[in-house]
């Protein structure tokens, strides 16, 4: 297994009006190629901050993050982000939203027809060929999030970063998109890091669940390996004792160990 991301002793502090606030401290984590890792924790614990650090949108105040052996010094298309609120540009069609990223990554090597084919393929992957000429306001929340995923995947990133991508969706759409994401990750073999606060989502999707302790100075509390065979079937998992164990372990961490700290 090749190591894609290496996080070494990373800390993050912010200057606020009330003084310096340490959000993250002493984070150590390695992510292997093709792995699906979720970051889970109570809201405000710094999950998204950690994801932003991997994305390069913010730089750590301590420690170092490596992507493919090189230090992460800023954002880049090899670490594609799917934002919580989809962040599609409302004045561009779904096609153009995806094309924008494709063009940026591949325009130097490839001609226009090939770039178009890449964009179409990415939209087909998330099942949205039909909606390519539509504007974001004309499609549902779930579809917007799919376009966001297509935009990220179309850039052929080394790692896909998802920041609570399904947080704003209703339960049924959420389940459907989780299944879609599992299929897409299986098809593309993408390395994925996802922030969530949904225990079931974490167990269903992950190879490993990284549990963060409560802030300030949040750090990696426990890491749980989800030893469930793939492809996973939502209904079958409900009966699976391994699934129940994983769920219980995460709940124990979140609502027993960490809640006491918070109180």
């Amino acid at each position: 297994m090749k190591r894609i991301v290496q996080i070494e002793n990373v800390g993050m502090a912010f200057d606020t009006k009330k003084g310096r606030y340490t959000a993250l401290a002493g984070i150590n984590l390695g992510i292997d190629e093709g792995e699906f890792v979720t970051l889970i924790g109570h809201s405000g614990c710094g999950k998204s901050t950690l994801l932003n650090l991997i994305a390069g949108l913010t730089l750590p105040t301590a420690g170092v993050l490596l992507c493919d052996g090189r230090e992460i010094g800023g954002p880049g298309p090899e670490r594609a982000v799917v934002f919580q609120n989809h962040s599609l540009l409302p004045w561009l069609t779904c096609f153009d939203n995806v094309y924008l990223g494709v063009e940026q990554v591949f325009a130097r090597k490839e001609g226009r027809p090939k770039l178009k084919r890449r964009t179409e393929a990415a939209l087909a992957l998330v099942g949205l060929q039909e909606a390519e000429a539509k504007f974001p306001k004309e499609i549902s929340g779930g579809m917007k999030q799919r376009v966001g995923i297509a935009r990220a995947l179309a850039m052929e990133p080394k790692i896909l970063l998802l920041d609570e991508p399904f947080g704003a969706l209703d339960a049924l759409t959420r389940a459907k998109l989780q299944d879609e994401l599992m299929r897409i990750v299986a098809e593309t073999g993408a390395t994925t890091v996802m922030v969530t606060h949904d225990v079931d989502e974490a167990v269903l999707l992950s190879d490993r669940v990284v549990m963060l302790s409560n802030g300030p100075a949040a750090t990696v509390g426990e890491i749980l390996e989800v030893k469930l065979a793939r492809p996973r079937e939502r209904l079958a998992l409900a009966q699976d004792p391994v699934h129940a164990e994983c769920r219980a372990a995460i709940l124990e961490f979140l609502y027993h160990k960490q809640l006491k700290h918070a109180a």
């Binding site: 994305a55 949108l57 800023g74 954002p75 880049g76 298309p77 670490r79 594609a80 982000v81 934002f83 609120n85 962040s87 599609l88 540009l89 409302p90 004045w91 561009l92 924008l100 990223g101 940026q104 990554v105 974001p136 306001k137 850039m155």
Partner: protein, 297 residues
């Protein structure tokens, strides 16, 4: 959200908020009216904004008529209407430089506004982008703008006369100076309000500065920019009348002053209506443009 920082700006930026500007309340039928009229709904909805407007105008004309009965010298609606028919029968006549049809006068005023406003847009919009993007420039410009913006445009007229030595460019200069502020302020505010999410997208996609400008900054700022343009045109049209009264020549403002000297009060009232209609038209065109380029989400 970072509003423009100087206190005095709050008043200027408040009416610039996009949703309020882009959806005139008059276009909507109140829900109560729909419920009360299950039959003939379509007809009523079409009449909805028209009927009250007609009643309003009728009332206005009636009061005008009554108020001018006792011979104050002010012409009533009937006399004005008769005179208006005569004026508009031949709006484009020319009897020498000081006696031209109302059409020529309106066009001359619009021409001046177009030049002054055009230069103001060419300077103000890029300046707004720069001030919005770079805090240092904002720190430099904001106190100056705060100082100069409240000055009546007419105070700039003598400066224009001094520098340009002629009345016409001085009037254009006055239009320029009064219409530049709303465009700078609204564009700068629009740049400040570009959602951080979009800029994060730009960073993750690694877009070039040019792509950031054309694909993200410009479309995101456009509604604010158009609000600035609308406010600017409105001010310019207000100011041109006053400026022309002082500078003379051809133009609707000069025409009013000329007709005052001739004591043709009907013509002054006609000119007031013409100025109002032209101003309303300019405003509506820009409101439509702003709605076209406002992206929800």
């Amino acid at each position: 959200m970072h509003a423009v920082t100087i206190d005095g700006f709050a008043a200027a930026t408040e009416p610039a908020s996009i949703p309020a500007a882009a959806t005139p309340g008059a276009a909507k039928t109140p829900p109560a009216a729909i419920r009360a009229a299950p039959r003939g709904q379509a007809a009523r909805r079409a009449l909805g904004p028209v009927l009250p407007a007609l009643i309003g105008f009728a009332l206005f004309v009636a009061i005008w008529h009554l108020a001018t009965q006792n011979g104050s010298g002010l012409p009533g609606p009937a006399a004005t209407w008769k005179e208006a028919l005569r004026v508009f029968a031949d709006p484009f006549y020319r009897n020498g430089p000081n006696d031209q049809g109302i059409g020529w006068n309106v066009l001359a005023s619009l021409h001046r506004v177009a030049i002054g406003f055009g230069i103001a847009a060419a300077v103000g919009i890029p300046a707004g982008f720069l001030i919005g993007r770079f805090d240092f420039l904002a720190g430099m410009a904001n106190p100056l703008i705060g100082l100069l913006r409240p000055v009546s445009p007419l105070a700039w007229l003598p400066i224009g006369l001094l520098v340009f030595k002629r009345a016409d460019p001085a009037a254009t200069w006055t239009i320029f100076i009064c219409s530049i502020w709303p465009m700078i302020l609204n564009t700068a505010q629009g740049v400040k309000r570009v959602p951080q999410d979009y800029l994060n997208v730009a960073r993750v996609l690694n877009l070039s500065e040019w792509k950031i400008f054309t694909k993200i900054l410009f479309p995101a700022v456009l509604p604010y920019l158009l609000t600035g343009v609308r406010l600017s045109i409105g001010t310019a049209w207000l100011v041109i009348v006053a400026a022309e009264m002082l500078t003379g020549g051809v133009g609707i403002g000069f025409w009013i002053w000329d007709e005052w000297n001739n004591l043709k009060v009907e013509h002054i009232i006609i000119a007031i209506f013409v100025i109002g209609i032209v101003g309303l038209t300019l405003e509506q065109v820009l409101v439509l443009a702003a709605r076209r380029f406002t992206h929800d989400e």
